[in-house]
Symmetry: C2
Subunit: 180 residues, 2 copies
Amino acid sequence: MEKDIVVLRYGHRIVRDYRVTSHCCLVARAFGAKKVEIVGDKDQKIIDTVNDINKRWGNGAEAEFVDNWRPRISYYKNKGYKVVHLTMYGISVQDAEKTLENDKKILVVIGSQKVEPEVYEKADYNVSVTTQPHSEIAALAVFLDRMFKGNELTKKFSGAEVEIEPNPKGKTIHESRKNK
Amino acid sequence: MEKDIVVLRYGHRIVRDYRVTSHCCLVARAFGAKKVEIVGDKDQKIIDTVNDINKRWGNGAEAEFVDNWRPRISYYKNKGYKVVHLTMYGISVQDAEKTLENDKKILVVIGSQKVEPEVYEKADYNVSVTTQPHSEIAALAVFLDRMFKGNELTKKFSGAEVEIEPNPKGKTIHESRKNK
């Protein structure tokens, strides 16, 4: 089943979180999520980074800042999305894989700074990727890889100016300039 | 087959790369790598972060700064390790999974800033996780998840002061203070 997955990034601070949040956005895009919504300090640099990648590498998930996570969770719940909060305290991703097998629409919430207890309550599932502290970027990637069953790894992005051809020892890059 | 995987982080700049390099180290640890070696600016803060996590969460991969990547690659090659460089330009991780099926010992090289062409040459395999730009943290996590076939997700860490018990709606933390 083709899943429709939206990522909600909970928390972003200007400068300090630039790299981690942009990694989250690019992982969401590369691994086939539909969209990223970010709650936190509005940061045009993140939007520009994601737009540049979409222009050059093809049309994938865009990023958008939103004011508050609560109405966004309600919005997606009303549209039939299951809300999955990635946290080291949740049930295992192996179990979640089975539980979510037949859910087409998923909103994945990934924290940065400390997440309010209400997020744990509002989530349909709190899901952990290992029970060890590591990285929300890694947790998101492994979760998406398992949700999409590896099919995301060969996803094509339409309208790309640049495409990579796998090469065992160097770089093979196909470039085409879009007409303005 | 139980694999023995060492991670070589190619490049680290003080302050600027702190979070990304520490995420790489914690992913390596959480996903069952044996050790992390880092080439770049010596940064005690990284070592302290990893040591603190090992003390509190149990004994996993430690991190160490090394002077140059070349002798480290030679060292591991001489010990029978296959060298895998994670890069968006390489062969797919799906293919690498099959190719590396029977290799017990693997050195994974992950870049940060631009990697010298010599790394592509010296690697036994250049491997890509998607052919899109995203995050070396995500690439490392997905690569390790596939190498360890998901078994790393339930890895136990000896000597932990803290352990998480999976909880669908909150946090269950078991703590024990070590005697000094």
